[in-house]
Amino acid sequence: MTDGHKIIEMEVLRYRPEQDQEPFYQSYEVPFLDDWSVLQGLQYIKDDLDSTLSFRWSCRMAICGSCGMMIDGVPSLGCRTFLRNYHPGKLRVAALEHFPIERDLVVVVDDFMNKLTQIKPYLIPKQVRRLDQGEYLQTPQQHEQYRQFSTCINCMLCYAACPQYGMNSDFTGPGILALMHRYNADSRDGGRAQRMELGHADEGVWGCTAVGYCSEVCPKDVDPAHAINQNKMGSAIDYFLRFVRPRGASK
């Protein structure tokens, strides 16, 4: 097994709620090949060294969003981060920051899941089309307006990056606000007013202080910072003009 393999030390943050009072780091010597991801390292640990290690994973190709974790303090996808970049030496692997740790590298994502539904992440058509009227049509330029923000894989790295969410989990957070923008910016959609009830609040776009680290760590280049902050102008204009605008024109 170790032929051609180099060795790296992986320090993994452990936490077993039934026996631990608080998390602690446990070291493992992991043999690896050049193309091994951190996820593969964790799988080696679970298969060969310590079957009690718990972590989420699925596609191992950066599309399912399951393997988000802190790797040397940076929110990263385990499947897209490579052991060779930390060798020689060691790397620290910990559960995604700003979320409660359920067990080892598994975090409680209930807050994220609940917030997901709050922003109505589905098309609320401006004009509902019957089946016989055919598809909702959209030009490539209209598609471009929101395409980038539709590539989110819900990996929550941006939540681990966002200090405002870390300090106050009432804040809706980068990923979900970017998704809100994705629908608002879709030419087929007419639900902006409904979504901006949350968007106009402190829990909405105004909870963001433009730190921008969320966009730095996003594995899909969604740029949530851009999604959120470009809505501040609109929200501010709406704030000042709301008394002179006709009812229902809230943008």
């Binding site: 409660p100 200090p163 300090m167 851009h226 470009q230």
Partner: protein
């Protein structure tokens, strides 16, 4: 409630000192901290305005203080701070704007920054040049 769920005890790590965790955060806070010196400059001007209202002697006193090495040194520092502010302001600005299209293509954010910084350099120079032209 089964025995299984009773064993759940989610652990929330403390958020204190979050900014120490990555150099990105420290750079962000340094950028925000420049605003303290922006406020200081505004207060210096406000004080000058106060002195202006108190008459010629008082105002000349304020001018005299501006000539002191301490003041010139401080303003040299302020110069750097404001220059950094101009740069960092336009670095963040593209995030606050919707995507801008130029001849069919989306304008990249670094390009918007460069345009903004160019505008800042131009306008700042213009102000100095115009005032330099006033010899009295």
């Amino acid at each position: 409630m089964s025995a299984q769920t009773d064993k759940r005890k989610p652990y929330l790590r403390p958020i204190r000192g979050w900014w120490k965790r990555d150099s990105y955060y420290i750079r962000y806070l340094a950028m925000e901290a420049t605003s303290i010196l922006i406020a200081l400059y505004a207060l210096i001007l406000l004080f000058g305005l106060l002195r202006l209202g108190q008459g010629e002697a008082a105002f000349n006193g304020w001018l005299e203080t501006l000539r002191s090495p301490l003041s010139v040194g401080l303003h040299s520092l302020l110069l750097l701070v404001f220059a950094y502010h101009s740069y960092s302001w336009f670095k963040v600005m593209p995030k606050t704007l919707p995507a801008i299209y130029w001849r069919g293509a989306k304008l990249p954010q670094p390009m918007i920054t460069r345009i903004g910084v160019a505008a800042a350099v131009t306008i700042n120079l213009l102000v100095i040049v115009v005032l330099a032209g006033m010899q009295s």
